[in-house]
Amino acid sequence: MVPPYRDEDAHEVPRLRVAPRRRDCFGLTAADVHSAPSMDRKTGKRAAAKTSAQKEVVARMHGVARSFGAGWVLRDVSLEVRAGEVLGIVGPNGGGKSTLLLLLAGLIQPTSGRVEGQPPGRVGLVTARPGLYPLLTGRENLHHFAGLFGLSPQAVDAKAEPLVRALALSASLDTRASTWSTGMQQKLSLVRALLLSPKLLLLDEPTANLDPPVARTLYEEVRKRADEGLACVLVTHDLLAAETFCDRVLLVDGEVLRELAFDARAVPDAGPLLSAWRQAMAAR
């Protein structure tokens, strides 16, 4: 378990480490980017004052570095993930975003530094690839993965039922996963991740290859869970999704990790193209 949060830990939030005028991978300068506290999505107000000391820290990294062979993917990374927040991770390809997520999941170990995560069964994972057995049905896939945690098929069915219904998968659950669209497979991957009531949900580009409405559905479900207290970390290249669904967004490019400030009130709820898409689909 993660130890209780202490105020003196607050200084461990990463600081700027680049020259103020140097532009990063997004063309941002340090003037555009600064270490910012959590933001309330609805009001746009900084929420750190009311939440940071109160909400439980679910996962934490202290000065973590990770190398693969001779190359360093991450260096001196420190961060915290709190219950009820969606923490966005953005950055260039090869910047170490997925590595950071694997470290939080406990799937790889840091070369140096310390990661305090959650025990098995308390971490949900959704990756860009759904990671299902194609010859098994959706239900059998759920039975298999949840069964590894000791859940009986009956318990899995009972727990999955509301999730499956919410994500409109009920009609296909007993057909083979190989016959499903990528979007359906990814939704089932989310069901699998949420099935064990995790405290930490890790999403690594979960909407890659998904059409926008399905991606939106998936993000909305994640946001809903976060509002109920789940801690989520979302690695994405979709900046609009990060702006819309994340409370905080960190920029990771290997050695530098910092928080990007943005005004949540300025983010449209849904773009006009997405609205038109939905209307056209609804009219069919």
Binding site: P120, V123, G131, H144, L148, R192
Partner: protein, 255 residues
């Protein structure tokens, strides 16, 4: 159900969903049995008649071969092939077991579960052994029993009946298959692509399977004690291979 049992059950379920693969495995057994069975039956019928026997012996003698030596070699070859099939099939299935999860994207989700590497490898091995074992029990058991009815082959102990044969059939073949399967499972866990895994599996383990087939038949000829010793040695080596494999297989699933 324990985690390794769950892994094995899913592995078996996936194999059952591929009837073409099961058909090929069963067809391979059937082809060998039909080819050799018909040949043995035909020779048996021919040599029942003294004139026929003399004609065959004369024909073989022209090539410098004795009838008894020819039959003995054929029997040995057939018996070895039947015992080679089990480790070979297990090797093929095991050689793709963990790699299948890696290429499928399911490996990270398995590693998130409270599952040790030893349990993962053991579950995969059990899953890879189940269906080949069932085929072994049906095809080798039935065919050897049937061929043992042919008078020509009654003099050879490799077609059932002797206690050494039963040890080879019920313990030796599964134990040696477990050894080959354990090596295959570890290779599949270390491999990052199908080509590498299949190259190692088919080349290295294919030859090993052939050697095992002949060793089992030789063990039957030599007697129960030697056969039992061979089986126990295989089981011990399989345990060591699995344990060493579990230690060297990285938990990193970034590949």
């Amino acid at each position: 159900m324990r985690p390794w049992q769950r892994i094995a059950a899913t592995e078996i379920l996936e194999q059952r969903r591929q009837p073409a693969m099961l058909f090929i495995l069963a067809a391979n057994y059937t082809i060998w049995i039909v080819l050799f069975g018909v040949a043995f039956w035909a020779i048996d019928r021919a040599i029942a008649d003294p004139d026929g026997r003399a004609a065959i012996e004369a024909q073989l003698a022209s090539g410098g071969v004795e009838l008894d030596a020819m039959v003995r070699l054929s029997v040995s070859t057939f018996a070895s092939l039947t015992f080679t099939n089990l480790p070979l099939y297990v090797a093929i299935l095991a050689g793709y077991s963990v790699l299948h999860d890696r290429s499928n994207g399911t490996l990270p989700f398995l590693m998130l579960a409270p599952l040790t590497r030893r349990e993962l490898l053991f579950g995969k091995l059990c899953g890879a052994m189940a269906i080949p074992l069932a085929l072994h029990a049906v095809f080798v058991g039935v065919s050897c029993w049937l061929l043992g009815r042919i008078e020509l082959l009654a003099a050879y102990p490799v077609f059932g009946g002797s206690s050494a044969w039963w040890v080879a059939f019920a313990i030796g073949a599964p134990a040696s298959a477990a050894l080959v399967g354990a090596l295959g499972t570890v290779i599949s866990a270390l491999s990052t692509d199908v080509r590498t895994s299949m190259q190692y599996t088919s080349f290295f383990i294919g030859i090993l399977s052939l050697v095992i087939g002949y060793a089992l038949v030789d063990g039957i000829v030599e007697g129960t004690g030697l056969e039992l010793g061979f089986a126990l040695a295989c089981a011990l080596l399989a345990t060591v291979a699995l344990e060493v494999g579990a230690r060297i297989v990285s938990r990193d699933v970034t590949g």
